[in-house]
């Protein structure tokens, strides 16, 4: 139907142009803005489906490539394309955006068109980030997505939103400045901003370590990894539900994606040298953050901390490979670790979205996120309670749900590296269940705690729709992860081959 590259461009630019359209349509007719936004998001999703169905799983080469000169003076190109790593994330993005727009349908009454437009812009920028193969293009998208999110939190956020937005912006911005320096340095050596050229660039260990650290700051903040994680709970708490969903489901993944696209292939020797640092940070995320999550009183904060812990599995899976390979790229376990990290990203996209939406559902009714204000919600909202318990179980990594798959893979793989790494990672089985189900006990179960809970009404069809879609997605991925893992194989194998060869 389309030339390969054009299709990908369409997936990027349809939501952005659609967002502009929604913005110009204005708020005179809020329901019109909603409908256009929904139509645009569905169109984008439909356009993104061929990226999966026409994806060639036999090759690691980039697909749907489009390459045009953009700023010839600096050899900057409009260069996009996808592989087995980015494609699932793009589909996750186009999928989640639909959910967010449906979920905001009645809740957002203030500046509707601007709200909807912000999410469509974000969708385009995020897909652009995952598609970009020119590092400047990547950087532009990477930065651009902050702006609508900044506005979403700053305009539709909670009481303390100004502190949260500034913290969010400064944290993420400072990280990316260093990345830009690294990109320009590599440009000075290759004369190109193409990420693929960077992959082939030979670098000394000192150069690699400095570049690695620059990337680390940028991506660690995004993921977020301990100890640069404290912006996330604040941002989540203040963000409106839709903002939290996109933040948790997609934006954090940009960090994980960055490690795979930049850090590992560009600085493999430094990654191997400093893997202990990332592994330590990841395990700290699982254990330390697990304990912190346990004592949270605010549901959104609890889920935010839980996100950090679960994202710890992503970075652990990505960097444990060096200990598994130990110089041998064919050692079993290394692909398992990388693919496990990837699966964990996709799964966390579904589950964190679902959890934040659940909190949103009761927040809309009670205007409180405090666990202590709830109790016995199941009595008045049985259908909702069933959903929330299911999502909580997925969050606790129950087999049969997607939450299990990635964790299982990473734990199995990390045992090959070390008993104790696997041991600490596996504590998520206990900690994850503890913080999630203890919250469920206090919020969902029990006697009706107060009159506000008594007055609750169960979820309506619209809410059932989007929670139901997510439940199906979580279950499907948990019962049959084969199709997802299958598309990654060639890319992951190629990546492993690549990083096992020294660039010194």
């Amino acid at each position: 139907m389309f030339a390969d590259g054009l299709l990908l461009s369409l997936v990027i630019w349809t939501p952005i142009l659609g967002g502009a359209l929604v913005l110009f349509a204005g708020d005179r007719e809020p329901s019109g803005a909603r409908k256009i936004a929904l139509a645009v998001s569905i169109a984008t999703f439909v356009l993104s489906i061929p990226l999966y169905t026409q994806f060639n799983t036999d090759t690691h080469l980039l697909q749907f490539v489009e390459r045009n000169s953009w700023i010839p003076a600096f050899n900057i190109e409009y260069f996009i394309g996808i592989d087995g790593i980015s494609m699932p994330l793009i589909l996750l993005t186009s999928f989640t955006t639909i959910i967010v727009i449906i979920s905001s349908w009645e809740v957002i009454q203030y500046r509707v068109s601007q709200y909807m437009a912000a999410f469509l812009f974000m969708e385009g920028f995020m897909i652009g980030t995952f598609s970009a193969l020119d590092s400047i293009l990547f950087f532009m998208f990477f930065e651009a997505m902050l702006v609508p999110m900044f506005l979403v939190i700053g305009i539709w956020g909670g009481a303390n939103r100004i502190y949260a937005t500034i913290k969010f912006f400064l944290y993420t911005f400072i990280g990316s400045v260093l990345m830009l320096v690294a990109l320009i340095y590599m440009y000075s050596k290759t004369g190109s901003f193409s990420i693929l050229d960077f992959h082939l660039l030979r670098l000394t260990m000192t150069e690699q370590i400095l570049i690695f650290l620059a990337f680390l700051v940028a991506f660690a903040v995004k993921v977020p990894m301990w100890p640069v994680h404290t912006w996330l709970p604040d941002a989540h708490v203040e963000a409106p539900t839709g903002g939290s969903v996109i933040l948790a489901a997609i934006m954090l993944k940009v960090g994980g994606y960055g490690f795979l696209r930049f850090s590992l292939p560009i600085t493999p020797d430094a990654s191997a040298e400093l893997d202990w640092l990332i592994i330590t940070m990841s395990l700290t995320a699982v254990v330390y953050i697990g304990f912190v999550a346990l004592v949270q009183r605010d549901m959104k904060k609890l889920i935010a901390y839980s996100s950090i812990a679960h994202m710890g599995f992503v970075t652990l899976g990505f960097f444990i490979v060096f200990r598994i390979m130990d110089g041998d790229s064919s050692a079993t376990g290394s692909a398992l670790a990388l693919e496990g990290g990837m699966v964990q990203m996709i799964s966390h996209g579904f589950i964190s979205a679902a959890m934040f939406l659940c909190v949103g559902v009761i927040y809309d009714r009670m205007h409180s996120r405090e666990i202590a204000d709830y109790g016995g919600v199941v009595n008045t909202m049985p259908v909702f309670a069933a959903f929330m318990v299911f999502f909580a179980m997925a969050n606790a990594g129950l087999p049969g749900t997607s939450g299990f798959v990635g964790e299982f893979m990473v734990i199995l793989a990390s045992f090959r590296a070390s008993f104790w790494i696997a041991f600490l990672a596996a504590t998520i089985l206990i900690l994850g269940a503890a913080y999630t189900l203890w919250m469920i006990k206090r919020v969902i179960f029990g006697e009706i705690a107060n009159d506000n809970v008594r007055a609750l009404t169960d979820i309506n069809n619209r809410e059932i729709l989007y929670l139901g879609i997510l439940a199906v997605a979580i279950l499907a991925l948990g019962l049959w992860p084969y199709p997802l893992v299958e598309v990654m194989h060639p890319t992951i194998e190629n990546l492993l081959n690549h990083i096992s060869q020294s660039k010194l």
Partner: protein, 650 residues
């Protein structure tokens, strides 16, 4: 056959889906029919499979249903392994489940969550079947956690009760501790064999027997021992072995039918089943077997003793279950896997019977569960009385009942075991026989005999429960009485388990039992020459003296044994210990990390600290920007002079 295998779990699942998602629309009756027909179909088909395996000598079936995932060359499959062990388990699970389904119609008839309950127990049956039919560790773990999920939902079935939702969280958490070990065990196996398939893992397990691993630097541990102990930690969680037993007594907060189905007959025996399934691995590590033996024996005796001081009818039976699970675990440790599974089977029937009989009493007593407020129920509830007697006799191992055969096989096997710790285990089990008889008949006498301590309003309505309750009881009483007599020969000594359970020659405990066995009748006679029968009789007599003949004696003993009694009453302080050490510490650590780590150091010092630093610095710099033209002119001229001076001099 393949489609039959697939249909066995799926019909139960279908029942669960219908009752769960459409329960409101189709109504109570249709919902329970959907569930019962689903499980009933599973039962009938399981019987077909058992007939195939046991009588027609069908070959072992080991096939994948679908590929869950392939990563790194490791095939993650969903598939079935149908052999003597799984066929037997399938019949045990579905038969008990079916009787419980029928019983539930009566027990839950007034409950608003009627359809939900049926949906859960059918879902449980599905999960349990997936567990026992699995041919790989992935599906085993899926079933393992899925039954845990249903158990969680069912313990907290009455979700407004604080005690129930406390108990279900506790059950899930303690099981997760076990699952943590289990998952690590699976990780060891996958790391060394590169497979999740049982048979492949077994075939390649010799690699692990010779390999060592340094978990603690400097200490070489055998990999197979490590793997087996980690797997066994999983079994300890699910099968409630000390110290991971604490969740099971509390699980009695759930409705009685599920106490019978899940927390007595089937789910809690999953750990026993798993270890028996892994016999080719456990056989290779005497250290692991020794651990199994000691943990089992300790559980058997400690939990039995607590049973003596309990006053809640369900809790007595619960502690009895813990103790009997200890017996099965000892059998596993003694390499008498077949005896463990045999006891698992007889226990499933008589313990489900005892629980459901207790439920029958509870219904009649209008949900009074304290045995001190019962007494003399025999004349009001004759059917319940007689089936309870059958169950109690089977539990204490009365010669000829099903429990006699299975328990005696375990005792003889333990006696003849040469695994380190078997002497201790045998002694504990012997004392346990006396204790079992004591607590069982203490309960039996206090409930059915002696003076009536029932309050008047209850007595006025006291009568036998309806047939929907009593028929399942009778159905369970039959196997409780006779199944041991019929099946011990073929199952234990006829080579039934040859295709599933592997025992090394040097672990000859079961071989020794086989030598003493000639026929069921002979086995009974032989029993009279051993100690256990008389120990059991002594237990019954002591119970009779203390609780019927001379109740004042029981009071005196209780008062004289102050500390000992308190120790038992407080269940050896396990709960208190866990609350203080684990729960409180975890919260404390969480607070420290949050308030000091995150809020004070990272946010306070580093993040906001940097912001304040920047603010302070710009505050200082701002002093320079006064806005007065003469200041600027002054600085400009000074600068110009300095610059010129430097240029001239240089």
């Amino acid at each position: 056959m393949e489609s039959i295998y697939l249909a066995i779990p799926l019909t139960s699942l279908l029942g669960a889906i219908i009752a769960g998602f459409f329960g409101k629309q189709i109504g109570r009756e249709a919902a329970h029919w959907a569930a019962i027909l689903g499980v009933g179909a599973s039962f009938v088909l399981s019987l077909v499979v058992l007939k195939d395996v046991a009588f027609d000598g069908a070959a072992v079936y080991n096939q994948s249903v679908y590929t869950w995932m392939v990563s790194d060359g490791i095939h993650f499959e969903i598939g079935f392994l149908i052999d003597s062990l799984s066929a037997l388990m399938m019949v045990v699970v579905t038969s008990v489940s079916l009787t419980v389904h029928i019983y539930t119609i009566g027990y839950m008839q007034d409950d608003p969550g009627y359809q939900r309950f049926f949906s859960y127990i059918s879902l449980f049956t599905f999960s349990m079947l997936m567990l026992v039919m699995s041919n790989n560790f992935l599906q085993l773990f899926f079933g393992w956690e899925a039954v845990g999920l249903v158990s969680y939902l069912l313990i907290g079935f009455w979700y407004t009760r604080e005690t129930a939702i406390y108990a279900n969280l506790k059950a899930f958490m303690v099981n997760r501790v076990g699952d943590f070990g289990f998952l690590m065990g699976i990780a060891v196996l996958v790391a060394y064999t590169g497979s999740l398939d049982y048979i492949e893992v077994f075939d390649r397990s010799d690699k692990m027997a010779s390999a060592t691993i340094q978990v603690i630097p400097g200490l070489d541990w055998s990999v197979i021992t490590l793997a087996c102990i980690l797997l066994f930690i999983g079994a300890m969680g699910k099968s409630a072995q000390v110290p991971l037993h604490v969740w099971l007594p509390d699980s009695m907060e759930g409705p009685t039918p599920i106490s019978a189905l899940i927390h007595a007959a089937t789910m809690v025996t999953a750990g026993i089943f798993m270890v028996a399934r892994m016999s080719p691995l456990f056989e290779q590590s005497e250290t692991a077997l020794s651990v199994v033996l000691v943990i089992g024996a300790t559980t058997a005796i400690l939990m039995g003793l607590i049973g003596i001081v309990q006053n809640d009818i369900k809790r007595v039976v619960a502690y009895s279950t813990l103790s009997q699970l200890g017996y099965m675990t000892v059998a596993l440790g003694a390499s008498a896997y077949s005896a463990a599974i045999f006891h698992l089977m007889t226990h499933a029937f008589f313990k489900a019977l005892l629980f459901l009989a207790a439920g029958s009493v509870i219904i009649a007593m209008h949900h009074e569960q304290d045995i001190r407020k019962m007494g003399g129920l025999k004349k009001y509830m004759p059917i319940t009385y007689w089936v309870s007697l059958v169950g109690s006799l089977a539990l204490i191992g009365f010669p000829g009942t099903s429990g006699y055969f299975s328990k005696d096989a375990i005792l003889v096997a333990t006696q003849n075991s040469n695994i380190p710790g078997s002497g201790y285990a045998y002694l504990m089990l012997l004392i346990g026989v006396f204790v079992t008889a004591l607590y069982t008949f203490r309960m039996f006498f206090l409930v059915f005999h002696g003076e009536e301590r029932i309050d008047e309003s209850t007595r006025a309505h006291l009568h036998e429960t309806p047939p929907v309750v009593t028929i399942p009881l009778i159905l369970l009483a039959i196997p409780s009485a006779i199944i041991g007599w019929i099946t011990i020969g073929p199952v234990l000594f006829g080579g039934y388990f040859e295709d599933a359970i592997i025992v090394f020659k040097e672990h000859g405990a079961m071989a020794a039992v086989a030598e003493t066995f000639h026929s069921s009748f002979n086995f009974v006679l032989h029993g009279f020459r051993g100690l256990p029968v008389y120990l059991a009789a002594a237990g019954v007599i002591v119970a009779w003296v203390f609780y019927l003949k001379k109740p004042s004696l029981a009071v005196t003993v209780k008062e004289k044994s102050g500390f000992l009694y308190r120790l038992l009453e407080q269940k050896y302080y396990f709960d208190r210990f866990n609350e203080i050490v684990f729960a409180a510490t975890a919260r404390g650590v969480g607070h420290v990390f949050w308030r000091i780590g995150d809020a004070l150091v990272i946010d306070g010092l580093v993040v906001n600290g940097s912001a304040r630093l920047v603010g302070w610095f710009s505050g200082v710099i701002r002093q320079v920007q006064t806005g007065y033209l003469n200041h600027y002119a002054f600085v400009m001229i000074t600068g110009l002079i300095l610059l010129l001076g430097w240029a001239v001099l240089a």
